[in-house]
């Protein structure tokens, strides 16, 4: 009787051992690979250490660049006003918290026309979680943004400033034309006063 007892027991133990072995080898769920995208920034990012809490620069938080020279040739002038508020936090453990709001108001005077064309963009950039440094010069962020793809940014980090360069984005103007542009976010290390909204106005183009 006891021989049968131990025979059953040993088979159970063997089975459980195999399950344990399998459990030790298998890791279950794993994160999906981030699709590899071509990093083609309009300005060359230099990389650096983005760790810390960052807020928009008080006088010039966002620069906007238009990549199609031909579009600019149709305009007499283009005035762009940008605002950026919020905060960007990056930890050494590669976790981040990004919560920012950007507005862009464009005022364009086509050649020979005195009535300007206006266009506004509002974008919320929000995310929390793990960030990844790609090729030492770009960041993949867990952010959601409303209008533009801002989850992959080139960066140049110095002691007290951090600049983000976006990949070229295209925005559709009334279905007539697509305008390729990019943004450069200028951030400074956070201090108590810097969390307020900052804005800048600049003539991007003027004949």
């Amino acid at each position: 009787m006891y021989r049968r007892h131990f025979k059953v027991l040993s088979r159970i133990k063997l089975f459980v051992f195999l399950v344990l072995l399998f459990a030790a080898c298998d890791k279950g769920l794993f994160p999906p690979e981030i699709p590899r995208i071509a990093l083609n920034f309009p300005i060359t990012p230099e990389g650096g250490d983005p760790t810390g809490a960052w807020v928009p620069h008080t006088t010039n938080p966002v620069d906007v660049g238009i990549l199609d020279e031909e579009i600019l040739s149709y305009l007499d002038s283009l005035v762009i006003n940008t605002e950026l508020s919020g905060e960007f936090f990056f930890s050494a453990a590669e976790s981040c918290f990004v919560h920012a709001f950007m507005t862009m108001h464009a005022l364009a005077y086509p050649q020979g026309i005195t009535t300007p064309i206006t266009y506004s963009i509002f974008d919320t950039i929000y995310g929390e979680g793990h960030y990844q440094v790609i090729d030492d010069v770009a960041l993949h962020l867990p952010v959601k943004s409303t209008n533009f793809r801002l989850d992959t940014l080139g960066f140049t980090a110095h002691q007290n400033d951090l600049n983000f360069i976006t990949l070229p984005n295209t925005f559709d103007y009334m279905g007539i034309m697509e305008i390729p542009l990019y943004f450069v976010f200028h951030l400074v290390r956070s201090n108590e006063k810097a969390l307020s909204k900052t804005e800048s106005t600049f003539h991007l183009y003027h004949k």
Binding site: V8, K13, V19, S95, G129, H130
Partner: protein
């Protein structure tokens, strides 16, 4: 209604006549039986052993000295049965003469035979497991303590055929899929009192202290013939312990840490996630009075975003024994859970981040539960036992927004709120009609009043009558037959929440359900037990399923007052076999059929309109399979091995494209393994849980939950190590030893490797 009143009066008249006759007989010449129960090997007293005069309602439990007393025993010949978990039951036949005191001695031998336990759930009175015609598993208090169980639903994760999902949802033999805990198809009782919330029909696990649990009884299969609505998949009865003689204090404290997620991409927080808790129990049992006070505090950061919470619960019991046959008990308690609300993940790239929160706000949830269960137990004679129970319960759930910026306060106004007042009572009478036969009959009334933002005010009134007859033949065969009739009257008094609602004072036609059961139990020889059972079950729609009127993830969830009750029929054949004195096996084959299953589904409202979500009677299904449990003790009980395996084969029988497919959110194979080695004062244990990958997920969930189709099997290995002295014990536990990334429910990643340090003291 008139018919009900007449039926009630005639039933009451019948029982009162029988009671009067028996009472008259019982008060004439009687005797007294006393005795002591000890361990055969050590001679130490066994506390809490059950002493029963077979064929009567008379019984007692042993005190801290192992002693028991049975008073007012009428003269006759009796078989005294003594049983305790972990010991082989013993019987003695005695002849009782008028005005004589008999003193008995019982020495019980240790055993692992599972059939030597005592359970109350199967027939609403204490029975040995060997007499029960259905599959019933016991979770003893020791297991709860050894595994540092902090929520009682987790204690059920090691019961064969049972799966405890995220959100406290329990499924037995594949009875439910995944519905965020709502509309449970398993009925949960606390000392026989239903512990389901009146709105969502889920279980308030957070408000049940776990320190004075005697055992958890898990009855599998449809049990509505005794318990009514919701007992489709089975019944779970949490039994609390009576305080030991004298005064005692018990303190348990623990602290634990969650490991870091396996992949750096998944790390959502720099700090270490942790949890801790303390429970203090005070008990007194002096003469006829017993009191028990338990307070328990738990706090956790959670291992996921917005999953932190704090739990406080308090329980007080008072017992007063007027005499050997009359006893009053009051159990009252309060529980509160406050914290985050994690429903499903963001996606597989961010599985520890909350996907159900809005972009800039977290949902913070507060749950409260207050309850009082008074009861009177009266042994009217050696043949009649009467039990009166009351139930008073208030539950409240509130959800508030809280901005995600650090230090932001919760918004004062709740965006979701539901409160329920439950009032009810039950009368049960057990009548021993002959030495081998017993009738159990009773009636139950309950009223739930639900007030909610989502569906304003609803009232549900329900009542039932039940009767069951058990008869033993030739000492080896026991037959059970039972029937129960339930009726329900539900109405929504005022208008729903959403602008589109057209509901105003909806009166649902009263529904009536008849449930029947049949059971056979045969013990052809010692160590062999064959059982057969057939039962019916049903579940009336929960208030939330019938009247909810809200928005979730941008979709409108619309009410459906026309919902019908779900129904089930289950058939089971099982055998328990002792292979040696220290090894037994239990095998059960079951077949369950379900109709009118209520599920959320997407419904079209017209061309060009957004679809709405509505609960509907959409499917019928069958679930068949087998349960296998094996237990052995070896090396003179120094070590034990337990194994439980369940196989289920499910099939959707609804007409349409899903016909023949397997049911959603069910694992085909589940395996539990536990191995314990005790070498006093040291103990060591290893647990393994395996659940095969679920095969199907809900189309409706795919609409708003990202990566819900990312599924894996579950392999969780846990280690336990403990040192115990007489009044002091220390335990160290490691759960998910191999850091396996599994799912506790679809789109809910399980905890990473977890370490716990636990200290217990008692005096």
């Amino acid at each position: 209604m008139r018919r009900w009143i007449l039926l009630s009066l005639s039933t009451a008249l019948f029982f009162s006549t029988a009671i009067a006759q028996e009472r008259h007989k019982g008060l004439t010449e009687t005797a007294r039986i006393t005795g002591q129960v000890t361990e055969a090997t050590s001679g130490k007293p066994i506390i809490g052993a059950n002493v029963l005069l077979r064929g009567t309602m008379l019984g007692a439990a042993t005190d801290s000295r192992g002693r028991f007393t049975l008073s007012h025993v009428p003269p006759s010949t009796y078989t005294v049965r003594v049983s305790a978990i972990g010991y082989k039951l013993e019987e003695k036949t005695i002849r009782v003469l008028p005005d004589v005191e008999i003193d008995l001695r019982f020495s019980l031998k240790e055993t692992v035979l599972l059939m030597d336990g005592i359970a109350v759930t199967a027939s609403r009175y204490q029975q040995s497991l060997e007499d029960i015609p259905v599959s019933l598993n016991l979770v003893p208090a020791q297991e709860i303590s050894e595994r540092n169980i902090t929520s009682l639903d987790h204690a059920l994760r090691y019961v064969p055929g049972v799966n405890a999902l995220e959100g406290g949802q329990i499924t037995i033999r594949g009875s439910s899929g995944f519905n965020f805990g709502m509309g449970s198809r398993v009925l949960v009782l606390l000392n026989g009192n239903p512990f389901m919330t009146g709105d969502n029909w889920d279980v308030s696990w957070y408000s049940i202290p776990f320190s004075n649990i005697k055992q958890i009884e898990v009855m599998k299969g449809s049990g509505s013939a005794l318990y009514g609505s919701s007992a489709m998949g089975g019944v779970i009865n949490i039994i609390t312990d009576e305080p030991e003689e004298g005064s005692h204090i018990d303190v348990r404290t623990y602290t634990g840490f969650y490991g870091r997620p396996s992949y750096s991409e998944w790390r959502w927080r720099d700090k270490t996630n942790h949890f801790e808790g303390t429970a203090v129990d005070l008990s007194t049992h002096l003469g006829p009075v017993s009191t028990f006070l338990s307070s328990n505090y738990q706090a956790t950061t959670g291992y996921r975003e917005n999953d932190d919470h704090r739990i406080f619960n308090f329980m007080a019991t008072l017992g007063y024994r007027f005499n050997a046959n009359l006893r009053f008990d009051l159990m009252t308690g309060y529980g509160r859970k406050k914290g985050g609300f994690f429903i499903y993940w963001q996606d597989l790239q961010n599985p520890y981040n909350n996907g159900s929160d809005s972009e800039d706000s977290h949902t913070r949830s507060t749950l409260k539960n207050t309850y009082a269960f008074p009861s009177i137990s009266y042994i009217l004679s050696n043949r009649i036992f009467l039990s009166l129970k009351g139930r008073f319960r208030n539950t409240k759930t509130e959800d508030h927004w809280q901005a995600k910026t650090e230090g932001a306060p919760e918004e004062a106004e709740a965006f979701r709120m539901s409160s329920v007042k439950t009032r009810g009572g039950e009368v049960q009478l057990n009548y021993q009609i002959n030495a081998q036969g017993i009738v159990v009959a009773g009636c139950d009334l309950q009223k739930d009043k639900v007030e909610s933002i989502q569906y304003d005010t609803c009232q549900v009134s329900k009542g039932s009558y039940y009767i069951q007859y058990e008869q033993r033949f030739w000492g080896k065969l026991k037959a059970t037959i039972g029937v129960r009739y339930d009726w329900e009257d539900a109405q929504e008094i005022s208008q729903g929440y959403s602008q589109e609602s057209t509901l105003q004072h909806v009166q649902i036609d009263p529904t009536g359900e008849l449930s029947r059961k049949l059971g056979l139990n045969l013990s052809p020889m010692q160590g062999t037990n064959i059982r057969f059972s057939m039962g019916e079950g049903f579940r009336t729609p929960a208030v939330v399923e019938r009247f909810v009127d809200t928005y979730t993830s941008g979709l409108r969830v619309a009410p459906n007052p026309d919902l019908k009750p779900e129904k089930s029929t289950s058939v089971e054949i099982g055998i328990k076999q002792a292979l040696t004195n220290s090894m037994n096996v239990d095998l059960a084959v079951f077949y369950n059929k379900y109709t009118n299953l209520i599920e959320p589904s997407l419904a079209s409202t017209g061309p060009g309109e957004n679809p709405i979500v509505q609960f509907d009677n959409v499917s019928k299904a069958r679930v068949q399979g087998l349960d296998l449990s094996y237990r052995t003790d070896w090396w003179s009980n120094l070590a034990s091995t337990r194994l439980g395996y369940t196989f289920i084969d499910t099939k959707d029988l609804s007409q349409g494209e899903d016909y023949g497919a397997s049911l959603k959110y069910r694992s085909k194979h589940t395996l539990y393994f536990a191995n314990d080695i005790t070498f006093n004062p040291l103990s060591f244990g290893i647990d393994l849980r395996y659940l095969s990958k679920i095969e199907r997920v809900d189309e409706y969930h795919k609409v708003y939950i990202k990566d819900i189709e990312e599924l894996v099997p579950t392999y969780v290995v846990a280690l336990r190590f403990g040192v115990s002295w007489e009044h002091f014990s220390v335990r160290l536990l490691v759960d998910n030893l191999f850091q396996y990334n599994y799912l506790t429910a679809p789109a809910n990643i399980g905890p990473p490797r977890t370490g716990v340090f636990q200290v217990n003291m008692n005096y």
